[in-house]
């Protein structure tokens, strides 16, 4: 599974447009708390990109290197489930929540964020149907490219078997990502718009990804910065993800990750509110 946890519906509904007369989500004094440097949007500067000293590597090489430096194919193949807990934060708005996420082979996923002042926002997929339930906007079944992207990113073998999910991948250059030269890899899925990932030229770790989230509420560019890599079991994974969606920032801080941990037996079942929509 990709550690991007895009939360596509939440990403847009997170732009929840505080529309209370006379109030703004941030203090109206203009005293919006400064964004910590660590959560600032990653600076990608193609103009300042390191000049390739030779031919670019193939995407296969870059992607395989990522697998190698984060644990190796054997370690990835051994992962059948993952359980993570952590925090969800919207720093500029002062909104926080507790995050719990589950995934299981081959492509099941479930994420719950209990947000202060909002309640429980859930997203999930049983590998066939992708859905979302929010106390603000209700329940909905995802469709089209949005559903395909969520199910694809939940695949436990997406790193080791990427050609199953993407019809092509190409290294298009070297960009500077927060001062680090990074290979820019454009991946084109079997359906939907392309995704771009930047891999650290030196460490091989993914630094950033960019994609377009397409929901009924709108189509928005999403960028995710990955950092704070930690070894969990036999894998090295990013534990901090900073998403920038249309100028709004969301942070996910994974505090605990258990690989191959037990998952409640009905965890990926379709919720009753979603079944009601299928009738």
């Amino acid at each position: 599974m990709k550690m991007n946890l895009v939360l596509s519906g939440l990403a847009l509904s997170g732009l929840m447009a505080i529309s209370l007369a006379g109030q703004t989500a941030a203090p109206a004094t203009g005293a919006t708390p400064p964004m910590p440097a660590a959560v600032a949007k990653p600076d990608v500067d193609a103009s300042a990109a390191a000049k390739p000293t030779g031919p670019l590597p193939s995407a296969d090489t870059v992607l395989q290197h990522y697998v190698d430096v984060t644990g190796g194919a054997k370690a990835y193949d051994a992962v059948k489930t993952m359980v993570g807990t952590g925090k969800f934060v919207m720093p500029a708005q002062g909104i926080t929540g507790d995050l719990t996420m589950y995934s299981a082979a081959p492509n099941k996923s479930y994420a719950l964020i209990d947000i202060q002042g909002v309640g429980k926002v859930e997203e999930g997929s049983d590998g066939t149907i992708a859905w979302e339930i929010s106390p603000m906007t209700g329940a909905r079944i995802k469709a089209g490219d949005e559903a395909a992207a969520e199910i694809r990113s939940a695949a436990t073998d997406i790193h080791t078997n990427w050609k199953k999910y993407y019809k092509s991948a190409e290294v298009t250059g070297i960009d500077d990502v927060d001062g680090k030269p990074a290979y820019k890899v454009v991946l084109t899925p079997q359906s939907g718009s392309s995704e771009t990932e930047w891999y650290d030229k030196d460490s091989g770790l993914v630094l950033k990804s960019a994609m377009t989230v397409d929901t009924p509420m709108g189509k928005a560019p999403v960028e995710i910065a990955f950092s704070d890599y930690k070894k969990e079991g036999d894998l090295t994974i990013p534990t901090k993800m900073v998403q920038n969606v249309a100028g709004q920032q969301f942070e996910i801080h994974l505090e605990k990750v258990d690989l191959n941990a037990p998952v409640p037996p009905n965890r990926f079942d379709i919720p009753a509110d979603i079944k009601a929509l299928q009738k």
């Binding site: 509904s13 109206a28 202060q116 603000m136 906007t137 909905r140 929509l277 009738k279």
Partner: protein, 449 residues
């Protein structure tokens, strides 16, 4: 509804002519620059409709340099904002700013909409008011509140609070907002900002009762009704919802804010589901200043059966955000009436305007506040304040709500006479409409026919 509505739509030019000191001139230039750069950086349309914003600055800034009065500076800044052709951007004169704030605690540098410090504005005598015909009229007395315990009744008027005659401030504010949809909201603010205060700290009120007899009362202030709810950096708000059955065929639901969805939505759902066979539901949004914008779609989901219907679209700088309704089956099939007034703002307007556009609800009451957008108010270096909305919202039919409000299908203003008689013209009209004819049927979109 606590710290309601401080959105100001108009440039107000109070003609105070006095020679400006070098310090004032400097502050005026800084204020001009702050307004200009805020619009430049945050306007929802980066192209500003083709307006050459740099040229506007080059043209108008020299006029500020040579301005002879604060009023002239406001006119120039107002002219700059007027080039955007949007009603919701405004400069608020410092004098009006003070009328809208609690006069006791208003500080020169206090932002209008900033949260009061803890304990400052956490008490109420239990009265809600509207300004009707330039008089502050009690429209509701909370049961068991200090006001109720001392016999205050709907229809009474308030002449003075803590020995301050309300008439001058109401007159100033009425003049300032004479052409604004937010007039009612701002007039109420003048009164409520004086009624509210620290819990445990009594407030002296001079009333006129139903016979116009002078009544002087000292009322305690007690905690606001509802459950405290905190959402991000918004100040803590007390959120409540109530419902009741009118006869056996109409459900009446009222809530004060579109906040705390984890508790509000289940309670709303319980009320709707308890009455699925009712002829209709009345949703009373009078006095509701809004909250989380998208919660409007979540509430609409109980009444709209067709997927992908929209209440409207909020155009933000980065993208258009469509307010899509996700149906929440089983969808209520009967008639829906929504009550609004001049204090119904923001998310209330998004909901009411959207439901009206979809043909799913009939709207009763008076025009809403026309304050649909998230906005900020900042103090300027010269002492004025600046309101700026960083988005644009249009309802599904293309109506711009900001500065226009939602116009009821049936206008039913509240009157003092009706209040004294125990009547509620808007609610009565809504119930009558629901009971007219046979039970409504819905088309495939979930639209009442």
């Amino acid at each position: 509804m606590r710290r309601i509505a401080f959105l100001l739509p108009l440039l107000i030019a109070i003609p105070i002519f006095a020679a400006l000191t070098p310090e004032q001139q400097r502050a005026n230039l800084e204020s001009f620059d702050k307004v200009w750069s805020t619009v430049q950086e945050k306007h929802w349309d980066p192209k500003m409709g083709g307006l050459d914003w740099q040229a506007v600055r080059a043209e108008l800034r020299p006029k500020v340099e040579s301005a002879q009065s604060e009023a002239e500076v406001r006119e120039i800044i107002g002219e700059m904002l007027a080039r955007l052709h949007e009603s919701h951007n405004a400069v608020i004169p410092g004098e009006v700013y003070h009328d809208l704030a609690n006069p006791v605690k208003a500080a020169d540098d206090a932002p209008v909409s900033a949260a009061p410090a803890a304990g400052e504005e956490d008490g109420t005598p239990g009265i809600d008011i509207r300004v009707i015909d330039q008089e502050a009229v009690v429209v509701e007395v909370e049961p068991k509140s200090p006001a109720a315990r001392q016999g205050v009744r709907p229809g009474w008027t308030i002449k003075a609070i803590n020995d301050e005659n309300l008439a001058p401030a109401l007159t100033r504010t009425a003049g300032t907002y004479a052409k604004s949809t937010m007039r009612d909201m701002m007039l109420s603010r003048v009164v409520l900002s004086r009624l509210w205060g620290p819990a445990g700290n009594p407030v002296d009120i001079e009333f006129r009762d139903g016979h116009d007899k002078r009544v002087l009362l000292s009322l305690d202030r007690e905690a606001f009704r509802g459950t405290p709810s905190k959402f991000g950096y918004l100040p803590e708000e007390h959120v409540w919802i109530e419902s009741k059955r009118i006869g056996n065929d109409v459900e009446y639901i009222r809530f004060n804010l579109f906040l705390d969805p984890a508790h509000l939505v289940p309670a709303f759902q319980d009320a709707v589901r308890s009455c699925m066979s009712c002829a209709g539901i009345v949703i009373d949004l009078r006095g509701n200043p809004g909250g989380i914008g998208l919660l409007a779609t979540g509430i609409a989901g109980y009444f709209v059966a067709q997927p992908d219907e929209r209440l409207g679209t909020m155009q933000m700088r980065e993208l258009p955000l469509k307010f899509v309704v996700n149906p929440r089956p089983p969808v209520f099939p009967g008639k829906v009436a929504v009550l609004i007034d001049g204090l119904s703002a923001s998310t209330s307007e998004i909901f009411a305007g959207g439901m009206q556009d979809l043909g799913r609800a009939r709207i009763f009451g008076t025009r809403s506040a026309g304050a649909a957008l998230p906005s900020m108010i900042e103090r300027l270096p010269n002492g004025d304040a600046f309101q700026f909305a960083a988005a644009s919202y249009t309802s599904q039919s293309g109506k711009v709500l900001e500065g226009a409000g939602v116009t009821p299908d049936e206008t039913k203003p509240l009157t003092r006479a009706a209040l004294l008689a125990g009547k509620d013209p808007a609610l009565d009209a809504a119930v009558d409409w629901i009971r007219q004819g046979a039970r409504a049927s819905m088309n495939t979109k979930g639209i009442t026919q």
